[in-house]
């Protein structure tokens, strides 16, 4: 994707200011809301079963994150997800921590059966788990993992008829029509703090709320987000100020900042 294409989608986020409904975890809930806000859109967090469907019906995108799931939260996610499916807005599922416990895997599976998830997002081991693969993510060198993950992403996208986003040093985005994007923006400092992964899902949800080609939306959104991270890393004095600077650079992101920095293959 070219700078102008990416910037066009960013401008749509800023002008349309889509409402992005989240049912997310209690650790990074502020960061998820704030990244949506500083991108110029409008986050709303609500999880009561009595209102989630109504809230989703007002929104242009739905982001689900199972980081601190309970069975009650999963029930609310199903209600919200179905409302999103009815309205035809994108549903992003961050399969946060998939593979860690049997309960988490079971809930993840139930969600994917009850709701048409449009975008499955996770890191390599999480997505591999959801895909039913036994991909090793520790102790396997980078090239092998990368190749394997492109395969995993593509196959899962076909099977679930969705878009799959695997975040990492290189983000891999594959959809059910055979499209593949590889985003090589970002900075290793992102892995040094809590919240950057969860925020990535919110970014994908925000961009896919204004761009119907979800793979393109995800690639554009992640590239913008990660370029802001690169700029923040260049100015920071450590892990704490890095996150604040990330918000600073996202809020002020200009076309010039993207020029020559976008690395989407």
């Amino acid at each position: 994707m070219q700078t102008t294409e990416v910037y066009e989608i960013l401008k749509k986020v800023r002008t349309q200011k889509p409402l992005v409904h989240h049912i997310t975890n209690w650790v990074t809930i502020y960061d998820c809301a704030n990244i949506v806000k500083v991108f110029g859109a409008s986050p709303v967090m609500a999880h009561a079963p009595e209102e989630v469907a109504d809230m989703t019906a007002l929104a242009s995108g739905l982001v689900l994150n199972i980081g601190t799931l309970t069975k009650e939260i999963i029930a609310s996610m199903k209600l919200a997800g179905k409302a999103a499916n009815t309205k035809g807005i994108p549903v992003v599922l961050d399969v946060c921590g998939a593979g860690a416990t049997p309960f988490r895997d079971k809930m993840c599976e139930e969600l994917l059966e009850s709701v048409k998830v449009d975008i499955i997002k996770g890191n390599s081991s999480e997505v591999a788990r959801v895909a039913g693969e036994s991909v090793q993510t520790k102790g396997v060198d980078a090239v092998d993992v990368e190749k394997s993950l492109i395969h995993v992403a593509g196959e899962l996208a076909q099977r679930k008829n969705c878009t799959v986003v695997i975040t990492g040093k290189e983000d891999i985005i594959a959809d059910n029509r055979g499209n593949l994007y590889r985003v090589n923006n970002g900075h290793e400092m992102m892995a040094g703090i809590v919240g950057t992964g969860c925020m990535a899902a919110s970014v994908v949800g925000t961009f896919s709320a204004v761009e119907a080609d979800y793979a393109r939306a995800a690639a554009a959104g992640l590239s913008c987000y990660e370029i802001a991270a690169e700029l923040a890393a260049g100015k920071t004095s450590g892990a704490g100020s890095f996150k604040e600077l990330l918000f600073d650079f996202v809020s002020g992101l200009k076309q010039d900042d993207l020029e020559n920095r976008i690395r989407i293959a």
Copy 2:
């Protein structure tokens, strides 16, 4: 209000260090606690039905915020609210998201029926909804909205026998004795991040814990908070560092900082 009057109330907050009990949302709960703390007071967050009344009984103010409400949380709010009424300490209700869903409106109504709320706080559309008005807040020019909102605030204050705080570019504060304050401090950057609205309710709760004239307390508190925001905006490099600088300037706020900056009519 004059600088010295406002500063006197700020000094009371810092010397009396009131305990301000919150039952609030999961998105901005840290910010709500921290703004109370950096103003020099003492926040406590607790929501278990078994202890909320006991916790409120220790406090000098109670702040309720329905941002991520559930029916269980509303039940705890009722218990805490009644304990606050019994003790005679101020109850602030942030009607966060009122109007978004029928469930939210219903819970809001139930709260206002079960508990004597001393200060209803929200943005223009939220308060208008609680007041039963159909005020348009998008697509209506500023002058019309402003006039309309003063009317809405005053009428609701009379009807509910309370103080009403409408935050926005200009904050409008009306009480049941006919008092009206208009606070014109603040900075547009406040609208660019998540949490500034919720923190405003915590500030009102903190100042009303030491000043029995709640409208005066609200005006003084919001003016201090928003002057700190003005100072932060003058030094910040973006949305992320703005919030940290806001905490910095609140914690260090001096009489000199208020001098010539207070805009309370």
Copy 3:
């Protein structure tokens, strides 16, 4: 403890990157996770009763914090605590707010009866309450409190067969084998923001996950954390940037930073 001894434990945290499972409060949950992360370890937050035992079984340490307890959360803590006991990993209990309400005291007592807690952590009044003492913490001069607290900590450590950590201007650490450490690092700015106490428990949990002598682990961890706070205080412009700088200095902490600064008696 000497610099090299402390630094050895810090290096173990960074190389072993222990997984530290938390069931904590909703106010400071991000800060608890992030402090573990910036120290170089790996936090995980999960509280569903269906998965907590499985999650703890993956971890090298468990941190429980009752700040925003409910009876459901306490039930999950018991399950996780028992799993930790079975695996033989350290259980830290932050008795946050103990003494504030009868419910809190009762839940605290139940936890201590159901689970073998390895490290009880709190401020002076909280630990005194758990110990059944009626130690006054306001209006008592520093020397008296200090003496009294060393006694309280030692006695509770013997009685509960555990390590006791009392945080404050001076941190007091006593174990059931008669060891006593007094840590005099830190800065008064730590008391001016929300979260530094909760993070201290997470630090103790992280260091005790790699060092079997829990009193040594706690002393080393708190000293590192508080030296980072001293460095942050020297550079900050206020309460907001102080916390971000604290994360910055923790993430970048070098042996040189510890040299001549460690004050563990």
